[in-house]
């Protein structure tokens, strides 16, 4: 075959793969690693998004560190198991999650998956704009700018016409998730070393609120969009079975970095534990930056606000991308950052359209900001089991995956994760519903 047999996006991908092959054959290990990292770190740091960081901080403010510090580490370990499967399926098959579900299980399941994802992504994207809006508000910048920034970022990062340039820009932005670590370090030990903050392993209070925060914390680390995104991005990047070792490194390093940054947000929130942290949720619009400014100081508040802007911005880029991949894959349309607006029109429209709709919604006066942010994660948790089950079936499918299929141990761990996520999501959904209809009291 000559290069004329390939589409424009395939030619670009082949060029990227040739660069990887050259780095591998010439023994340039660090350069090879640099070329291959991306989808895993973006999925993990992208999921340390606005609602997740607000959720972690809310948790720290209400319950201290005792239960949730180890719980966040556990959820990221769960996430690493799921995302490794996602990367592996994408690299071995060269197909996105939506395409594979459609081809392997039929159009009904393909469309269900895409519709579920589009709906949860829209809700989550609203929450991302809310996070940017909260961060901007701390610096006296209006909500219109938050909406404009988010949509502009999506358009500008796509306009390079290369997956590689898109990935590097977003990766550069994602490193600023480290602002939450800096904020935690600046907060200092004296705010969180009090026994009441550090040793609250079995928190009291409302069971619904605790379940909301547990489900929300799971939804902050294992989500349907991450599965769609990492598998499709791995395929778009041109990863192959030869790249699995680096893909795993990318995924596990991303999980470790995201867990540390997430714990940073929890620690910052815990500084409010003995200063009315339980009522911080009620601050909604001004939220955490204002509370932190009052209790810890202006520096930490500014870092937290900047962190929220970064977290929201990166998540808007990755979640919009997963929407673009899912919608395009389900109708069999071209879906690549290597494609132009003309050749991948639906991918571009879905990507930008999702961000534009969400950005418009946050401009509506009186929108319940914090409630949307927390419930976006819960909704993702409740809808996650179906996507996870399909991922496990695909990753265990020897006909599809050959010798790279799941072993029994990986499948067993993955099934345990599905059971745990389902249990937590169901517990919150049922408990909060019964309270909403006044059958039980909180």
């Amino acid at each position: 075959l000559t290069t004329e047999a390939y589409t424009e996006e395939e030619t670009i991908r082949l060029g990227d793969q040739a660069r990887v092959a050259h780095a591998r054959s010439s023994g340039r290990r660090w350069y090879l690693l640099w070329l291959l990292v991306g989808p895993g770190m973006l999925a993990m740091l992208g999921e340390n998004d606005g609602p997740s960081m607000i959720s972690y901080a809310t948790t720290g403010a209400r319950y201290g560190l005792g239960l949730f510090l180890p719980f966040i580490v556990l959820t990221f370990a769960m996430s690493a198991v799921c995302q490794e499967m996602s990367m592996r399926v994408g690299a071995v098959t060269g197909r996105g999650f939506g395409s594979l579900v459609l081809e392997r299980f039929g159009p009904a399941w393909g469309w269900f998956s895409a519709l579920d994802l589009t709906f949860t992504n829209l809700v989550t994207l609203i929450a991302e704009f809310v996070a940017i809006r909260v961060g901007f508000a701390h610096f006296g910048i209006g909500p219109g700018w938050a909406a404009l920034l988010g949509v502009l970022l999506v358009v500008l990062t796509m306009s390079g016409g290369r997956y590689r340039s898109w990935e590097r820009i977003v990766l550069g932005l994602a490193l600023f998730n480290g602002l939450f670590i800096v904020a935690a370090l600046v907060t200092g030990v004296h705010w969180i070393s009090h026994p009441a903050v550090a040793a609250t392993f079995l928190p009291g209070g409302s069971s619904t609120t605790l379940l909301l925060l547990i489900a929300s914390t799971i939804g902050a680390t294992v989500t349907p969009w991450m599965i769609f995104f990492q598998q499709s991005a791995s395929a778009d990047k041109g990863l192959t079975h030869e790249d699995l070792r680096h893909g795993r490194w990318d995924t596990f390093a991303g999980a470790a970095m995201a867990a540390v940054c997430g714990c940073g947000a929890l620690i910052v929130g815990a500084a409010l534990f003995r200063h009315g942290g339980g009522s911080v949720a009620g601050l909604a619009g001004a939220g955490f930056p204002a509370a932190l400014h009052h209790v810890v100081g202006g520096g930490v508040a500014a870092l937290f606000a900047l962190g929220l802007i970064e977290a929201g911005a990166v998540a808007i880029l990755t979640i919009s991308a997963s929407t673009g991949y899912a919608v395009s894959e389900c109708v069999g349309a071209p879906h690549s950052f290597n494609g132009s607006l003309r050749s991948s029109a639906l991918f571009w429209m879905a990507n930008i359209g999702a961000a534009a709709i969400a950005g418009t919604i946050i401009l509506i006066p009186g929108v319940p900001l914090l409630s949307i942010a927390l419930n976006a994660n819960v909704l993702a948790t409740v809808l996650l089991p179906v996507a996870l089950v399909f991922l496990i079936i695909l990753a265990s499918d020897r006909e599809l995956m050959g010798r790279w299929a799941n072993g029994r141990r990986t499948t067993g761990v993955a099934i345990a994760i599905v059971a745990f996520v389902t249990l937590c999501g169901t517990a919150y959904a049922v408990d909060s519903f019964l309270q909403a209809i006044h059958v039980v009291s909180g």
Partner: protein
């Protein structure tokens, strides 16, 4: 194009049950969220 997976009848029923279950749970979460707004 990749061929269809051959799922047993029990597996297909299990997937539909899980699908219905998650939809019901989602409806509960959305109801609770809307109820909380009032």
């Amino acid at each position: 194009m990749i061929g269809r997976a051959s799922l047993s009848r029990r597996a297909r029923i299990g997937l539909w049950v899980l699908r219905a279950f998650t939809l019901v749970m989602s409806a509960l979460v959305i109801y609770t969220f809307v109820a909380g707004l009032h």
